[in-house]
Symmetry: C2
Subunit: 427 residues, 2 copies
């Protein structure tokens, strides 16, 4: 008696640009994420260039070992694009023109005012009997065909086309690989690192249930938390873990799903019918750009000031020349006056002002690179804080801008204005 | 007589986060790029999770087929980190504590005020006789060891640590795989697509020499061109191709190496001892942020205005309320007055003003989403232009901001103020 190999899945990414490192492969992460949401974990991933022999060997090997193989790339019109040809050869099937695929390619060309040439029409050739996968975004259709016991599914390398085709790819996968319902809760957090969160959970003595997987995805400036359960029955457990996290680090949670700091701030402002303004020196417009990157920001943001030079801080925001002289641009007095000026000139209810040394130059012993003064709040309640942020210029700017958004959010929501990321800071 | 296998190189990336798609693998592109600069092309890349069996099988297979195998990841302190153990087992060598590695780990912990625990010290265990690779950034040291005829080189998964260790990794690689001098010239361009450039080259009738490889790396908003030759003798040919490109699309070339649009603008401003200001509506501070992201921007940029609301455009920049009423905020009259106001208030020599509908809402038949008015120049010579940019909000903001920087650069350098990206545009 022989046993079937376990029904596993593999990915094969193709393209010379991946081998040369000219392109960072984000497609395989997109495919893996989509599969993970159906409870399927990719077992193996391989990447080869546009080389007939290596491509053929990789497909043969992976098809032997797995129940499903998703191949990405190599479906284009040029002679480098070998995927269909190599698979047909391995399967011992003829490569033939598919009538539906030909129509798709001709229509696609016609919509662009061109006549399909031989290169375009090459994309209509697929292994005989292959199942077509529709591409609503581009000319390259995908297909599925069996190679021994393995279902081989091909997809194009253009990310937007791949994304549009993923639902059909997932459906074709689920016919061969067992899927199960996965419930994922994503939380966006700011100001606590992965290890601090893990430590806080451990210190709390909470018996974290094994059925709830806790994952982290680090970004700058946000950190995403993922709570995953593999069974409908465990959703209450997932909810309990969320409540526990809320109790432990609630003020560092800015929202669910893909909420950004700017969105969380905008939401809090809208709830209270308030507006915000910015007075930026070392972030140079980044805070305003983060706010206005979000659609519909005009109801909570009307004016921002980028006052990079001292005399501009004085002339536009009314910062005292004496204070600029005595305390320097990176000082509590100056950042407070920047905030006062921005609030007065814009008429906004809330504001953020920052002045600092983003580096790499400009540091001193008293004020090293990374030293930033922040002022935030309303004309009634203003806060100021000095921070020293290590890291390159980009990081300093990003983190200060994020902290600025977060501090106004905290004030609006009545949360601690002394978040964990401050208490870790040297004064 | 047996022949040796060709001296090829493979990469093995490890980590569950790569298999789940939680992390996009940029490390392999970094390694491949660094190798490409020494003329070495990666033949095969594999990715597996933190699974002993799969990891072992992948290392064994790749070591069999290649002269060098670079393994990335799995050198951390946790029990998931299996790389050293699996390699030692495959090589039939004991895993032993290396004195130098222990000192490194202890020092690293000491600098962070902690005592090395068992988890930390696990990182000091390596296959007996392995050659240590120093990690100046983290606690995880790499090592090189032979597995049959293959040199296996291990590196940590943290990108900054990997980057710091690459020179040593390249040196270890070059002892086994033939490297040759590769001369790469990178050009940064803006405003012409890959196919337009290729078309322009074809149309020019220039017999592009086969010894000079032309590569493209698309980014938003810039497009990088790469001219590569594999031999010192072909450098004059590479230079000739560069000259040809310069003649064909010189005004779309913003610089060599990794020059950004903001850097190119800053350079042109500095040469002429001039400064620039910004008046932004739909880009909401992004142009100012792009300028100030570059170190040392304070000598060419002093003030920026984010005037998102109509009354702010009036109050801060002096835009006529009548014109705002009659023509709307997205109009030539308004954007011109924004520029005039910003120049006058800031005292800058040059300026960029933009007002548009970034979307997704706010469009109309007359002014669809993506409609943007730009004004740029000095108080003596001002230009205005209406563009309609397709795409999501982010793209509209990015492209308008980039065009703004480019247009001032063009004016400063006396280049055509009607670049190709305008002539393709409907008025």
């Amino acid at each position: 008696m022989t046993t079937n190999p376990p029904a596993t899945i593999a990915l094969l990414m193709t393209g010379d640009e991946l081998m040369r490192g000219d392109t960072v492969d984000s497609n395989s992460a997109k495919i893996a994420c989509a599969l993970a949401e159906t409870g399927v974990v990719v077992q193996e991933k391989a990447t080869v260039g546009d080389d007939r022999q290596r491509l053929s060997a990789a497909i043969a090997r992976l098809a032997e070992d797995h129940a499903v193989l998703i191949v990405n790339g190599g479906l284009g019109p040029t002679s480098d694009d070998l995927t269909a040809e190599v698979i047909a050869q391995l399967a011992g099937i003829a490569l033939v023109e598919h009538a539906k695929a030909r129509t798709h390619v001709e229509d696609w060309c016609a919509r662009r005012g061109i006549t399909a040439n031989d290169a375009n029409l090459k994309q209509a050739f697929m292994p005989l009997g292959a199942q077509l996968i529709h591409n609503p975004r581009g000319s390259a259709l995908g297909f599925a065909v069996d190679l021994g016991h393995c279902r081989v599914i091909t997809t194009p390398g253009v990310p937007s086309e791949l994304m549009a085709m993923l639902p059909e790819v997932l459906a074709l996968t689920s016919e061969r690989v067992a899927t199960h319902s996965v419930h994922t809760l994503r939380l966006q957090t700011f100001g606590m690192g992965e290890s601090s969160i893990q430590q806080a959970i451990n210190d709390s003595g909470y018996a974290w249930p094994a059925q709830v997987a806790l994952g982290f995805r680090a970004g700058l400036p946000q950190l995403e938390l993922k709570l995953t359960v593999n069974d409908d029955a465990h959703i209450p457990l997932q909810r309990a873990c969320l409540d526990h996290l809320q109790a432990l680090m609630g003020d560092h949670i800015i929202g669910e799903a893909s909420t950004t700091l700017a969105q969380a701030l905008a939401h809090a402002l809208r709830e209270q019918h308030k507006t915000v303004t910015t007075a930026e020196s070392c972030t140079g417009g980044l805070i305003a750009a983060m706010i206005t990157r979000e659609p519909g920001s005009s109801d909570i943001f009307q004016a921002g000031y980028v006052t990079y030079a001292n005399d501009i801080k004085h002339r536009i925001l009314g910062v005292s020349l004496d204070d600029l002289d005595h305390h320097g641009a990176v000082s509590e007095a100056v950042v407070r006056q920047m905030l006062v000026g921005a609030l007065a000139h814009s008429g906004a209810d809330m504001g953020i002002a920052v002045s600092g040394i983003a580096g790499p130059g400009g540091g001193s012993e008293e004020k090293p690179v990374g030293t930033v003064w922040l002022a935030w709040g309303s004309s009634d309640i203003m806060h100021t804080r000095r921070v020293v942020i290590p890291g390159p210029r980009d990081d300093v700017q990003q983190l200060v801008a994020a902290a600025g958004l977060d501090l106004v959010r905290r004030q609006l929501l009545g949360l601690p204005t002394e978040p964990q990321y401050f208490s870790r800071q040297a004064q």
